[in-house]
Symmetry: D2
């Protein structure tokens, strides 16, 4: 008899929903017990409502669950939201109002002044904004994780924050799995780069400032650094690779930065949360690493890999960052958020 | 009976040599009449000495030419050098000494203080350094074209030079054909990005400063802007894509920049050199262009395509540049250099 | 003032329609003068009704044409049909009834007993079925070209037909462009083979028997050979590659087969039709050719390349065939059909 | 203190050697204790002698082992051979002579009349040939596993053997990892199929006949079926996909074949060998499966997946088979062979 916490997934039939299901297989605390999707799917068994898009086959444990309408009624307290942005706003609010804790991967609430945009190793203290959500009349809460490309960047920058980051220039080479399903046509991507991802650049820029910013006196204050992003899609399955150049208030030494990367730990590591990687940021000393295909699945996809730290002729330092966009950048990010909430006592046992 | 100028190719059996042969097919001024390679190949017919690596089959016109040792004796005045850097220095010098005009794609002489590093639309006036080569006792001359990734960048920047460029940050996504043959193992590149190209970043940085710099009083003076490059290999056949951020002495308007791109012409266009594209820099207004696979072969591969001009939160402007690395960035670049030399009267009819 | 024959394209805004437009650029006989599409597009300029999917940009000559409803009224006599199978049946018949010559790439009429399924080099004589279409009350006519994978196979087999083919086993590795747009998701195809193409295998099997069959006494008679196909999608942009094993009534010699490939010519070559390749079937003697990326664009994409002829331990001979699926297998096939019709006097000057 | 059996790896620094090291990580019976390579590497630590080519990083447990010359002296009894064919013959014999049990992935001894070519689920009884090796004066033994493409085919055919296979036609689409390192140039493979793999077709044909054949009276007797293979390289990382057509003495029913696939088990399953997959052959009922990227890693890469069983218009049945070429087709195959030998008492505890 399972003593695990039952969890629900909104948007369960889509590709992000499938990634939640995959990531939660064998989770020591959480058990997928409720699946929500559009009315079209409601009432069907998950296996009948869903075309499984991920590698391998649908986990047998969820195949016979009956898909629910996206209404709070019967749902567990802890809800993961993998909904499309076109519908997430109203539904997530309805669940929060009804007392659920909504851990969302959708972008809809990320930038709201009373919603934490969490990377648990980086800004776990942003949770202190949560009481303000009561002002909306919500009995429950909403927390969000950032856009996949933002997670990789903020994890790479967080160890360097103490040195006083002032400017960041980043170019991304993003994986196909980040585009949802069906995403790009294979005809368009074959032997090609698509140098444009709609809305991605402003999201990366503003989300990064919020995440690395402060939460004081019941309000968020953006980090004052300036961030500029150029986002591209490349023929990689999983793993966003980012070239980063950083300017600081004063140029730190190479040793300082390497020490900062190596020593970086956060709340998830302190509390040994189940999905926390031992080292959230792993510096690879090889000339040509990290590489997405070769490194993306290490440490269960939950670490961000950095490398190629070198002097920048324009800013102070350049380096590479790479992380798993659908794990560390989506499903795994949200699950780690939920583990953080649980460890804070915000979810009932 | 052909009245064309006979030309030779050093390093003719390699992949760059093959690109020269392909590009020179049907050239209105030049005719490949002499092929040089290593002693191992000398004396064989080209078809027997060469594994043809490019698409299609070996052009029949060269297949029966006998490959020569890389010695000046019987060679034509105009020599294209496609030699590997490991051997180019001595051989190119020997040809220059013996009175040949060596138009080299190799990196060996690019940064020397008496050798022009040419992008004919950008710095044709650097040819005025050539008389200094007589000080070496050379009866002939050496001119060079830049590294493939540099050509794309300098073509994209040249129209903006009048606005006073002060800083440039560039990230490249470079094509497989830029790595020579065999280059990367397909096992390494499959569904991957290799975020490192040996020596590429310093080359891009210093070559760009030389090309956009001045040639006064018998010496080159680097452009004072600072350039920082991050170079990556992606799964694209031909065409280097580059994200560029630029800071100016004073921020120009969007209209100014678009006008500058659209109106940019150089000596090759004025003189209507055979390989000169009508517009050296083509601005594409679409959200998601240029793309390497879709645009690289337009205008015979000799234009550089730019797009996505947008405000940069850190510098003044960001944009994309993309060009054909083995045409505009190698064989086509050298042939255009030779056409420029011919138009200057530096090659005998 | 143009003396060319004006032609129309049904389904002009789709990817196959775009391929027709591309292929007809600069055609010496035909000029695109009329574009038809769904009611949604009708009345708009082509540039506004169409997202250009092919490499490069929309040819300027068609960009300002106004798209028509798919009705015969104002359309030219010669109509190319690039319509989706879901709508082609009724519309093609309406045009045929109204007196148009419909040269269709759609599958809808291919297997009908009074419609020729043409590969002009192989079965130009099947045109003699056309008068039977008058029995339907059509003032015009419909001719079709086969499925892209069938064209490659039948071109490869046609030279061998005189030796009495009895059995054919074929496995295809088909290009992404054959799946229409958007076709496969890039997420699904990345580093993958999709070993299934809906309805493709029975189409290849039955179409091949019809094309290599006879047209006698006003009826088609299938070729009695048995054909078995296994169809797969691979990460190639253009060009279907097929491994073929053939059994004959009696085993011919290798020399006989090579001679048959080399000497194969058809009506298009005899009449020097504008789109006819000099050699419809090109045997490549190299160990590892043909290869789709390297050979697909030779001879304007209109030849089929064969290679690797070798003994088969089960049947008599094995070989490879490869051809351009959107040129020789679609737009180019239809244009060659139209040229054949014109050369037969079936299209008014 | 480990009670595991110490094993050695010949050719340890190459890519196949690395696959052995990866596959043996955490093996319950075997422990890598000895690494052999060329004289050039001997004496160095493994980490210094080896460029790690596989995903992730070199397992720390082997990094500090000192590489040995490929001589029997200090080596453990159980030796895995991952050597290149150019050197394997003499070295494997020297080890066998000296009393070692050589479990080889190299092709050199596969077809010898006293060496078993094992797929443990298929022909474990071929081990009874082993005593004949004593006639060579060997105190030890050599056993081999087949070529990677052969393993997939023979696993797919073995369940059907009772129905009397008479003819097999197979076309392969093989993964890049099967070509060794560096294998194909990425320039050659990009958006391409290379329809040729040197010596692969005759190997598949003859090895399949040996494996499915009998071992009676101290000699092997090939299976009398005829096999014809066409081998191709495609852009897939791991996993060979094969289209198979089979003729039988008498056509079995679809149900018979599905039952045969589903019920197929071998000695490794009976004895519950550590690397034995629960089902060696897994039939996938979906229209479009198996697919290499999506299925290759299921069951630790040790199952072969079949699908798309359908009538063949030429032979009786067609189906697909797909398996992991470097696991089930190389390192995993050899380790399973060693487990079989151990279970037979042929390796000392």
């Amino acid at each position: 008899m399972s003593q695990k916490i039952k969890v629900g997934i909104l948007g369960a039939t889509g590709m992000v929903g499938q990634q939640f299901i995959n990531f939660l297989q064998g989770h020591p605390w959480f058990e997928v017990a409720w699946l929500g999707a559009s009315d079209r799917s409601a009432g069907k068994k998950y296996r009948d409502a869903t075309v499984w898009r991920l590698d391998g086959v649908m986990p047998p444990g969820v195949a016979d669950l009956v898909v629910n309408e996206s209404k709070p009624d019967s749902a567990p307290q802890l809800m993961f939201s993998a909904m499309d942005a076109s519908v997430a706003t109203e539904i997530e609010r309805a669940f929060a109002e009804a007392g659920h804790v909504v851990v969302s991967n959708s972008r809809n609430h990320r930038m709201e002044p009373d919603v934490p945009l969490l990377v648990p190793e980086v800004n776990a203290d942003h949770l202190r904004i949560l009481p303000r959500q009561a002002d909306r009349g919500w009995k429950g809460r909403i927390v969000t994780n950032p856009n996949c490309s933002t997670v990789v960047l903020t994890m790479g920058l967080a160890p360097l924050k103490p040195f006083g980051i002032t400017k960041v220039m980043v170019t991304t080479m993003q994986a196909l799995s980040g585009a949802g399903y069906p995403g790009h046509a294979s005809f368009d991507m074959n032997a090609n780069v698509v140098p444009f991802i709609k809305n991605e650049e402003p999201k990366m820029e503003s989300e990064t400032q919020k995440i690395l910013g402060e939460c004081n006196g019941g309000a968020f204050q953006d980090h004052p650094m300036r961030v500029s992003a150029a986002c591209n899609r490349v023929q990689v399955l999983d793993g966003h690779t980012e070239t980063v150049a950083v300017e600081f208030a004063r140029k730190p030494s190479r040793e300082d930065l390497l020490k900062a990367f190596a020593g970086f730990r956060g709340v998830p590591q302190e509390r040994e949360l189940p999905s926390a990687p031992p080292c959230p940021v792993v510096y690879m000393p090889e000339d040509d690493r990290p590489q997405p295909r070769r490194d993306v699945n290490r440490f269960n996809g939950m670490s961000v890999f950095v490398g190629r730290l070198r002097d920048c002729p324009v800013f102070h330092w350049k380096f590479l960052a790479m992380g798993h966009n659908t794990v560390r950048g989506a499903a795994g990010a949200a699950v780690l958020n939920a583990e953080l909430l649980k460890s804070e006592g915000l979810i009932d046992a």
